[in-house]
Symmetry: D2
Subunit: 365 residues, 4 copies
């Protein structure tokens, strides 16, 4: 496949370019009978939407999702759900420079080498705009998981540059444009962004996502493990360069006696594993982290080549984010929702008639 369909049982087929007429997706495999309206998608779309604060890109898109199929009288029917988001704020401007020159560390050069051409307008298919459809599709999964299984998903900004953030007030994450889980640190983030703006530079970020209420048994060893599919899903988000499950790279320095999550009848005694063992969910909270690189769309000039292969210099202008990671939280939550949804359906395909010899033990003590 050419890579634009995600999932195996709950699938998302994504299409659209940043400055084409529309982006959208087709969600296939959703169980019938889920109450669903366009406003269910809009909540998460609005959280991801650009132009909402002065700390992110100023492109203004209403990002109104329209459901074209698969819903009848307010409920899913089991047939494919097509979602369409029109592009509205495609500023008509001169793309001459971007068209001829490869922006360093962008997908421009790779697309040309792969396809021999590219839609250069606003990044075309490689634009982060594509992630809006993931958020829309993820909202469907998220609603099902919450209503049918009691699974709750949340994410937050855990680090931006040298600023480390603890999740001290998870309920406040949506109250600030950074998805910062510590209200006392928001001013610090604002100041850091202002410095980057002034310097014409950018910075990386680390996001944490977590799902609670996940039943044990999700994941298909040996290749389509829950953690494996989650790693792929998170790595497929623009700018992501690293993924961790549970303690992640901290494991390298841990001893087994420290790392192993002991069990008791009352619940797991720790969660270093991030809720996955042998590629299968354990019932503990599923927790992952992702690293996003600093965007390369900065105003500091950089060396590059043009389409003739000649050396030149590039300085990105236009609307961009000093920290693309700031908008990644709802996208990462959406991908986690999609992974859990797909695995829930696949798990019951094979194992719907299984009764384990013991009841699940609680994920947390």
């Amino acid at each position: 496949m050419a890579g634009n369909t995600w999932g195996r049982q709950f699938t998302v087929t994504s299409f659209g370019e940043s400055h084409g007429p529309a982006i959208g997706c087709v969600v296939d495999g959703c169980p019938p009978g889920l109450a669903l309206t366009e406003s269910d998608l809009q909540t998460d779309l609005d959280r991801r939407r650009p132009g909402q604060s002065r700390y992110v890109t100023q492109r203004r898109e209403p990002d109104q999702a329209r459901i074209l199929s698969g819903v009848f009288e307010g409920e899913t029917t089991g047939t494919p759900i097509a979602v369409l988001i029109e592009n509205e704020d495609q500023r008509s401007r001169d793309y001459g420079k971007i068209q001829q020159v490869f922006r360093p560390n962008h997908a421009d050069y790779a697309y040309i080498q792969k396809y021999g051409r590219r839609d250069h307008r606003g990044g075309g298919r490689s634009s982060a705009r594509e992630t809006a459809v993931r958020v829309a599709a993820g909202a469907i999964a998220r609603k099902y998981l919450r209503e049918r299984l009691g699974i709750e998903i949340r994410g937050w900004l855990a680090q931006m540059g040298d600023i480390h953030l603890d999740c001290v007030a998870p309920d406040t994450v949506n109250d600030n444009p950074f998805f910062c889980p510590d209200p006392d640190r928001v001013a610090e983030l604002e100041a850091a962004i202002n410095v980057l703006r002034r310097d014409g530079d950018s910075i990386g970020a680390r996001i944490v996502v977590e799902a609670t209420g996940v039943p044990p048994g999700l994941g298909e060893p040996v290749f389509e493990r829950l953690d494996s599919d989650l790693a792929a899903a998170l790595m497929s988000i623009n700018a992501v360069k690293g993924v961790e499950i549970g303690d992640g790279f901290d494991c390298v320095r841990q001893r087994g006696s420290e790392h192993r999550d002991e069990l008791s009848p009352e619940g797991f005694l720790a969660n270093h594993s991030g809720g996955v063992a042998g590629g299968i969910s354990t019932g503990q909270p599923v927790r992952a982290a992702l690293a996003l690189k600093p965007t390369s769309s900065i105003t500091i000039p950089g060396r590059t080549v043009d389409i003739a292969g000649e050396a030149t210099e590039m300085r990105t202008t236009g609307r961009h984010d000093p920290c693309v990671g700031l908008r990644a939280t709802p996208i990462a939550e959406a991908m986690l929702a999609l992974v859990l949804m797909d695995h829930w359906l696949r798990h019951r395909a094979q194992n719907a008639d299984v009764t384990p010899p013991l009841s699940p033990i609680p994920g947390d003590l």
Copy 2:
């Protein structure tokens, strides 16, 4: 799918339990005309094989791979290549304890919750023994990539606990049982393992893998990106908890002006990106890192529950590795080879008749 087939164009279907009669795989989609014998698989299998040094598990398996199909008169025919590895050293012993009690942080509990039962002998399907077939399959991909495309793959131990290792002598990696790339530090590793043995404990590790000579254009955005599929492939290896592409989590603290890989007609001026942009290979070396947790099979007793849900204690005995990461290098190399092979074939499916407007620029200056 139930998760035991990897890949889309070059596929590997894996089967077998640790203490069953055999493990093996079927490799489908290999181009015809590749010279291939069983000894081509054996080189890498021998590198992964247990029982070769006193620093790893003492299970002794010859790991002789037998090719059952798909090769005729010394060349691949384009039909599926079945590889069989008989299990020989399945020690006949009392599994009573393991059968009734869940080892903390093993897949035991998750398997029971998913399937309602499990083959408890030696870890059954969740045993690291399964990775032998990945090495065999990877050896086929690796041979093709080397002979047809000039791609070279190598890996090394980059960290064990607090011991950080630089790749100062890549040619010596296979000369020691740790895949240590610095011969002067081997004694240090030996000493650390001896301490762990004495303590009955274990430690994590970090492995780096790299492919040079990768042509630009591999990877299928937006979901089946090269980095995304590589993350999944590496995360599917037993005990892996984190994956990085290029600078990985270091990106969080980097500025865009530092991170971006500038280009010149003579070549890329840096490789922070790990050879992937927008999910597509750039021609730079493809570089990834993985974190392996400390094995939970340690002799220090741990709290757990039994199959009746009652609290109990577990102390693993038998043959195990103080650092499972020590044997992971050939497995990670194999998974990298499989990912590149699959993406090469898929890339040419869609783009075989593309001529980019400029020649690829070198991956390194």
Copy 3:
């Protein structure tokens, strides 16, 4: 998967209900550089379009396809091509009867049993309206096959009821509303349809499709053979109940000495096999036939049950075809185009570097 994505390398994801806001599809995997405009899709869409003659359903849909992505400056870019067709003539009427009662031999009852509900308006997802998007997607494949490989695809009505038609004038097929390949027999078909109209009844049809210029080598034994995938593709068209490759069911009475296609350096000496051997194309014309059942939407009352499980009677009113097979020719051509396109790309994924020991012999003497 839930079944709305077709293909493996060249994929079509279909969505939409008969009386929803729109139908459409996403075509993924198209090679870049193919000149493509909306009018390229329109030619075939217009051939399938209802309401064009008084012999088929009188629903009037302009069936204007809009391309939303994947085409830039008149050429495909290699990214997914979304095609949207708005529904316009959704007559607002009382669906009360259809909603409560299962039309015999329609999908109504099966949908209820599967999904527990259905969009009853105009057949919902099970309507033949869905085939419009197949024709649009097929037009893209067809253009590529013609321009890059010289493959020509055509189809015709071979039988309607007891009227058998020979392909005596293939160039006249598009000159009449029946896709009849014999202009002298058109009046006979008209008369037969008029009788059916009068009787409120319907009739079956047999369609033949053929592709010339197909290179040898397409098809992936043992399960994804060219004939196997073609059988699935044709059987997936609404109302199709039988598929034949080459001589099909006539083979049952043939002897091997008659059936086998002998070869000569100048070309194959016959084509009983329909251009496929061992599941792989031979270079002969690929030929298939399909049987379409008489539509069950007739005005003669029939016994059935209602949603409460009670016995009742049903008489279909509204706009319907006395012979649904009459509009199937462009759909069958489209499916043949899709199968060949997908297999061409998959074939070159594995075998792009193969040089057979002898040149292909011509498909026809």
Copy 4:
């Protein structure tokens, strides 16, 4: 994919050449807890096995299936089930002629054009020997379907040449080497085969397969319909050239008032549709027919070309079947079992929590 994995949720990956060391398959996705031994596979394997009567090929293979994985203490565990069948009667002989000359209507020429080479020994991968693994895999599906869902599958020879056979005594089908459902006609078949033997010629056959007890709801419209997947599965059997569901090509001459299966609360009043509507099972018996061509391995010489492209003549010698269709019944039954099994699991993935508004009505009155 290269075509050797069948299915989506219940998958079969097949490997092996006719005269290589072994053939086999990996069955993935089987629900855990199914009682399974090698003898469960052997019953159907013995029905397909050659050399059992003088009316079929005299190759003598014990076809002993060995289960290598996925079964523990007599029950499936949910992990992949590998099945191995060693080749024993590979007569050592001179393949010089077959190696250099393409047998008319065999896969020889197509394989060379596709892969540039082929394993010519006994037909290699294109040999009907490969179907033994389908029968083994099908036996697993069949056991599950019978024990868990009460589905019974049977097949019979419906026609050989001009001899039409009615299913008058279904219980006697296994009592004769032809799978003839009418004991009074067995002598007629014997005589016909003797004539073909004498003439050195061959004949085609028509097989019917049927499953009773199939619940409504199986099948995934619009592309992976039950009938569509069944058509592909049956067409993938060697020598098959046509597939019908229900009345098949007879529909062409039927009127809608005759064809449509009316419903009553007591059950369906007919089964022209073969148990499928809109691509979904209705609860009626699922019935299909397949046409097998006369084998081209006959002793009457035929014109052909050699590997240099020169004209020559070919006369097949060795062990072959005058009617390959005679051994196809268990293979067709196996494919039907696989299709139903895969669709059952997929159906419940999406729809496990659906409750239809009415109880299923019986499939037959």
